[in-house]
Symmetry: C2
């Protein structure tokens, strides 16, 4: 998928919502546990109920790996279902991978070639040659951790690496010199809305994937004030707030209502910003 | 496995060799490709030929993930084979994972509980609460990236975060304040032998996993001069130099010879250092 395809979809749906498919067997409706593949069944129903309101889905690989082979099978079925039935959707393997050159190529093959995800999240600690192998894949996007919303996020990311630069700012700046850096997006946590202004000064044009709206305390409006650019440039992720809104038989309907609330808010913001 | 078990094994075998099982179907002997599971067959023969010379095996998960479900099956068969036939071996899932708290717990379950690896490698970028969930597992070790041997390793790791401290040193220091930090080990690349002295000043007692001896240009003797401590404290990894030493029918025998060369060198170093 190209960046223009993604933007077109956002404008069509008036939504920049990403739904996180972090499926925990302890949290899904009990009636699904009797099905052959409860994780896939859960995802399928969530996707069926929300695909017109969301532009992206983001399964976090940890939630699949922890169930071993069966979990990987559920992940493959989920991505295949998305690619077959909703090819317009931007898919994100939230895997936070990263290794030396040829090994990163192996990870990229796993997610881009074999499973046909549109993007994968990576960690920057090992530097340029751990990320560039992902960037070499045409029409695929690499979403690099920049500033994360967890408690320990600031432990290293906020370290001052020069008088006027923190590590996450240095990560953003250096990444702009890498091969195919136009295929980069960045993870920026929503709990730090005041940081978005400075981040937009460094990366005005790249998409930012923003987790932490809702459950983790981030505010959509604040994020948009500083984070939106002329091509939208934001994907706002919500996981628990949507997919675990109800454990009833009608959980997918409730998830749809929660997604609609966010999409409605997003549509208003896009209109206000004059993006359509 | 406890740290004392690992040390006892090192003394018994007079070896602190770790063999990296980074299995690429394009590089293994062709006659194996006709077998039902070439990757596992390759690993099994390598393990059978070298287990008396090595104390640890380190499959890199990227090389398995890139073959999809079949690859994960090969990984599971490999770890099961090691745990069943060589329970004294220290096993490392080289996965470089790391995510927010509850998600890291999922990864830890995948590798520690389900597959019963003794350890897993993690990336530090997301900070304390991305690593502590791994450290909570009893008798399991978490091997955190500190200073890596790839070209881009210095991009961020060598950033100066204070007058006398680089990022990787800060990573080491902060990690010593985390819960269960005695379950930590660190990845330190061998191509930077001169850094080992300073690293040992920060973490005198922890084990260091050292890739990059051989193929990547690191020198075993230099690393040991600065890196060994009274409890050995080093695991030296070799992957390509051992497992791809030959593509012939007798590849495992050649791998054994290469492992023996390193083990012989290690035995001499241990004797010289008075560790036995």
């Amino acid at each position: 998928m190209t960046k223009q395809d993604l933007i077109a979809q956002i404008k069509l749906k008036k939504s920049f919502l990403c739904i996180g498919l972090d499926v925990d067997l302890n949290k899904i409706p009990e009636h699904l546990l009797a099905t052959e593949d409860p994780i896939f069944e859960f995802n399928k129903q969530i996707i069926d109920a929300t695909h017109h309101l969301a532009v992206a889905y983001k399964p976090n690989t940890a939630f699949y790996e922890c169930y071993g082979l069966k979990g990987w099978q559920s992940l493959e079925k989920t991505i295949n279902y998305l690619n077959k039935n909703h090819p317009e959707i931007f898919t994100i393997a939230d895997a936070k991978r990263g290794d030396i050159g040829n090994t990163s190529t192996m990870y990229a093959k796993a997610f881009f070639d074999n499973m046909n995800f549109d993007s994968v999240t990576v960690a920057p600690y090992m530097g340029s040659d751990s990320v560039e192998p992902f960037l070499a894949f045409k029409d695929k996007f690499t979403i690099m951790l920049a500033l994360t919303s967890n408690k320990g996020g600031l432990d290293f990311q906020a370290q001052q690496v020069s008088e006027d630069e923190k590590l996450y700012q240095n990560v953003l700046k250096q990444s702009l010199t890498w091969n195919n850096n136009e295929q980069l997006m960045y993870v920026v946590g929503a709990t730090k809305a005041e940081y978005f202004k400075g981040i937009r000064e460094i990366v005005p044009n790249h998409f930012l994937l923003v987790p932490g709206v809702g459950a983790q305390g981030g505010n959509l409006k604040d994020v948009c004030t500083y984070g939106l650019n002329d091509e939208v440039g934001l994907l706002i992720n919500s996981s628990r707030g949507i997919i675990y809104a109800s454990k009833s038989q009608g959980f997918a309907q409730v998830a749809q209502e929660k997604a609609l609330e966010l999409q409605t808010e997003m549509a208003a913001i896009l209109i206000e910003k004059g993006i359509s």
